[in-house]
């Protein structure tokens, strides 16, 4: 809570895709102890453009240098101009606080991680790929985009990551939605992690819900999710879940106070994205109630 008013300096920013950039911030208070899936709150220098701080998933965090990188879409004002946060230059200071929320939980036994992202969703998974590679796991990233020009550059990923692309217009990789690629990797994967548009996440959640039946005996050896039932939403329960998702729900205060970021859980219980999320295991959420 004491970090709610901290600032950070922009060290470098570069455009990586049309309308998207990666900014490196010197923010030791954020980098220290940050984990994949957590987010930061970035304050626009001009509150008339964006009154509230914006929640942005951590792209990478390096505790040794205090540098965190954020992958951000350039917001546009009503008049089409990039908002001030898109015009930041190296040396500028902005309000940057965090990390907030709960991270992805990887089962120590998982060797094969399947990452599924579409569009800017990759920003929430990038750090998980780093951590998994560092821990010696095999990582496959399935990425969906409208066209080749929107495809996340492979040069920004660790070399160890297998990168498979689907585009809606077929200009690169598989012609079709990224979900077409999932069945081919499902049996290989020990756990899956997804981020992107709500429709993609809902489809993956429905698919994952029927996994146990589809996979049959293939799943029995691991007893994942078997044994003593864990309380819904606990780190252990999430670790046992096959699919975890990171929601990009806007967060108002990040202090678990304003309740603006709440989504409905499976039992109709409101869950705050900033405190119980932004990472959830798929069965925790009421997917029909999500917009």
């Amino acid at each position: 809570m004491t970090t709610l008013l901290a600032e950070a300096e922009l060290v470098e920013s570069r455009a990586i895709l049309p309308g998207q950039w990666i900014g490196s911030f010197h923010a030791p208070h954020v980098a220290s102890g940050a984990r994949a899936g957590q987010f930061v709150h970035l304050r626009d220098p001009d509150p008339t453009t964006e009154l509230l701080r914006r929640s942005v998933p951590l792209n990478t965090a390096d505790p040794s240098t205090g540098i965190v990188t954020l992958h951000v879409r350039t917001p546009r004002s009503r008049f089409g101009d990039p908002s001030p946060v898109g015009r930041l230059r190296a040396g500028d200071r902005v309000g940057l606080v965090g990390p907030f929320g709960r991270p992805f939980e990887v089962d120590p036994r998982s060797r094969h991680l399947l990452l599924i992202a579409a569009g800017l969703g990759v920003a929430a998974l990038r750090m998980l790929a780093d951590e998994a590679v560092r821990d010696g796991r095999q990582v496959t990233l399935l990425f969906g985009a409208p066209a080749a020009r929107d495809v996340y550059p492979s040069s920004l990923l660790p070399d160890e990551v297998e990168y498979v692309v689907a585009t809606a217009d077929g200009s690169l990789g598989h012609h079709g939605p990224v979900t077409d690629l999932v069945p081919a990797y499902e049996a290989w994967a020990d756990q899956a992690f997804a981020a992107g548009p709500r429709t993609l996440l809902a489809e993956l959640a429905r698919h994952a819900a029927g996994r146990r039946e589809r996979m049959g005996v293939a799943n029995l050896g691991r007893k994942r999710g078997g044994g003593r039932p864990e309380p819904m939403g606990s780190a252990t329960a999430r670790r046992k879940a096959f699919l975890q998702v990171a929601l990009d729900q806007p967060v108002g205060c990040a202090a678990a106070t304003c309740l603006g970021c709440a989504v409905l859980g499976a039992g109709g219980v409101p869950l705050r994205t900033c405190r119980e999320g932004p990472v959830f295991s798929a069965p925790e959420l009421d997917w029909d109630a999500l917009p």
């Binding site: 008013l5 509150p47 603006g260 970021c261 709440a262 109709g268 409101p270």
Partner: protein
């Protein structure tokens, strides 16, 4: 820091989470025109022990303020130490932000809207950013009055800041039932009735646009509640002055205005959404101006306060206290900072009391 050797036996490395060290830096720059901080006694409530100090809320060394009179009397013994209050919402029940915000330096803390029974709240999305504001519909998510009392009232009782419970309901009976449960609790200084709530008896028309319904609601609560009663109005009535007169004559000790302005964002929150933030400040100014002109009771102003100028505007049209809402989401230290800035302005202008700033735009 010296790196420690780490032996990895198996499994993934989970970095131990450390709390970042935050060093407080004393500023050498002292704003001009402020008398020595050691002098003077702050009004009533500041006499109690100060809550733990937060980071970045103005001057951390400022134990006592300038010797200017900033106390506000809202009636029936509720005296605020200064005119800046935390409006209902952004600070929840106060406990959520108590370690980041020095609540003891606020005039009052208005809680989140509280209903008789627990409410799960609205489905997402609950919030959408719009130019200079947010459109939101939280659906009154709260644990219900009994749970709130059991969980938070003892804590409120230990605080020096007066806690005002914001009460929400769909009928006068529901409001009365909630207030009955709050009766006699030492930690509750006052109630604020949210008249922006939909009135089930009139097909969901908010109490605040209906002088008769508003008056009978306030009168019903008045019979139960003998401490300070604040009626909170929202815009939307054909003539807000008639609503203000109705609730004042029904027994409201003070009127607060405005709640959110009914609004919509396509793809955003659903029914019941309201707009708050700097976008509504001019609307709020007009409502407060009209209400002050219509009634003799003290008026607490809310609506898009983000800078000291907004506070001075509200005082100038006749409000005696000013609340900070939406802007405190992005900057929780703002209400306390504005309280200090207001004291500085009063001192710098050589005024004996902040009340010399109240109503100056009406004369």
């Amino acid at each position: 820091m010296k790196a420690k050797k780490r032996v990895v036996t198996s499994g993934p490395q989970t970095p131990t989470r450390r709390t970042p060290t935050v060093r407080r830096i004393k500023s050498a720059i002292v704003p001009a025109g402020r008398p020595s901080p050691a002098s003077g006694v702050r009004a009533t409530h500041a006499a109690g022990p100060a809550a733990p100090s937060g980071i970045g809320q103005g001057d951390p060394d400022r134990a006592t303020g300038p010797s200017v009179d900033v106390a506000v009397d809202l009636g029936r013994g509720l005296v605020l130490a200064n005119p800046l209050v935390a409006a209902s919402g952004p600070f929840g029940y106060g406990v959520e932000v108590a370690d980041a915000v020095d609540l003891g330096r606020l005039g009052a803390l208005i809680t989140r809207g509280t209903t008789l029974r627990a409410r799960a709240g609205a489905p997402p999305p609950r919030m959408a950013a719009t130019p200079s504001g947010i459109v939101h519909a939280l659906g009154y998510q709260n644990p219900g009055v009994d749970a709130v009392i059991a969980k938070h009232e003892p804590t409120w009782d230990s605080w020096s800041v007066p806690v005002v419970v914001n009460v929400c309901g769909e009928s006068a009976g529901e409001f009365v039932e909630i207030v009955r449960r709050l009766e006699g609790l030492a930690g509750v200084a006052a109630v604020e009735l949210n008249l922006g709530c939909p009135n089930a008896a009139r097909g969901g028309t908010p109490f605040t646009v209906d002088p008769d319904a508003a008056a009978s609601l306030v009168a019903a609560v008045r019979r139960t509640w003998d401490r300070c009663l604040i009626a909170k109005l929202s815009p939307g009535a054909a003539d807000i002055r008639s609503v203000a007169r109705a609730v004042a004559s029904a027994g409201a000790d003070a009127i607060s205005a405005i709640g959110g302005v009914a609004a919509l964002a396509v793809g955003g929150p659903g029914s019941g959404a309201v707009l708050t933030g700097p976008a509504i400040h001019p609307i709020a100014l007009r409502v407060v101006h009209d209400v002050v002109g219509a009634v003799g009771v003290p008026v607490v102003a809310y609506g898009g306060v983000a800078w000291l100028d907004d506070v001075l505007d509200f005082l100038a049209v006749g409000a005696v206290a000013v609340g900070v809402g939406t802007a405190a989401l992005a900057d929780p230290g703002l209400p306390v900072r504005l309280a200090e800035e207001l004291e500085d302005v009063v001192a710098a202008r050589g005024l004996a009391s902040y009340r010399d700033l109240v109503g100056i735009a009406r004369r």
